[in-house]
Symmetry: C2
DNA sequence: TCTATAGTTGAATAAATGCTCAACTATTCA
DNA sequence: TGAATAGTTGAGCATTTATTCAACTATAGA
């Protein structure tokens, strides 16, 4: 309708397959959901955070352990842990001065496994 | 050993649980693989690319269709399609002037499903 | 051959982001 | 009470990156 016409102006081209555009428009999740999905992947899209998640898949760890393991400063690790916590991918518990972090989502493992499979395919 | 001591200097703290650090070090995939994983997620970590992938899950589409669907310019869509193609997530075929894009990896669906599940959890 | 359209590409700009540094809190131990 | 250590936090800097713009290629049709 009007919206589609506006889109055609925007993309500077004629609609090649209006039927397909309409079909897909009806089936796609709404933009807000897809933006949330992108934000989630953004959290996974950093090698430091990926290494942290990979480590926590093996064992609960404190900030200092992670910093030693990844050979990085406590500060940078703490910043990234905050990002992961806000994304609800990890949780923490405090014992004295020590804060222990662990995974907080059962989807993480699955997503990780699929990603490794995709990456691994390029080597076969 | 030496490396661990260096790490301790780096992180400016004592190793709290050396046994756990050693255990996790032995079990984690190497950094190169994890960097590849992060790079893959980086591709997923943009709302425009997520919307393109979501659309292609429903149907093969040409550049113009996608541009109309997402209300964006052909140029920006083409740039993002290039990124997705380089990540081997989509493929294309050319018919006359028209280039059709479609998914090129069966992991995409699974990764997507898990991500939607994670995002959806926050609403329940 | 000439025109129109689908799509690609490179440079430039603006926004997002990861690490560093310094200062801070909280808890333990003497 | 005071020192030491685990961890957090905000500002600043440097890098990355998504979109725009203009120019370009390739194909179809007259």
């Amino acid at each position: 309708m009007m919206k589609t016409l506006a889109n055609q102006d925007m993309c500077n081209c004629n609609v090649i397959h209006q039927d397909i555009v309409d079909l897909v428009t009806g089936k796609m999740p709404n933009d807000e959901v897809l933006a949330d999905v992108a934000d989630l992947f953004k959290v996974f899209g950093d090698s430091t955070r990926v290494r942290i998640l990979s480590a926590l898949q093996e064992s609960e760890m404190c900030v200092c352990d992670i910093a030693v393991l990844l050979n990085m400063t406590k500060s940078s690790i703490s910043h990234q842990l905050r990002t992961l916590r806000q994304a609800k991918l990890i949780k923490n518990r405090k014992v004295g001065k020590v804060v222990y972090y662990s995974l907080d989502d059962y989807h993480v493992g699955t997503i990780f496994t699929q990603a490794l499979a995709h990456v691994g395919e390029g080597q076969g």
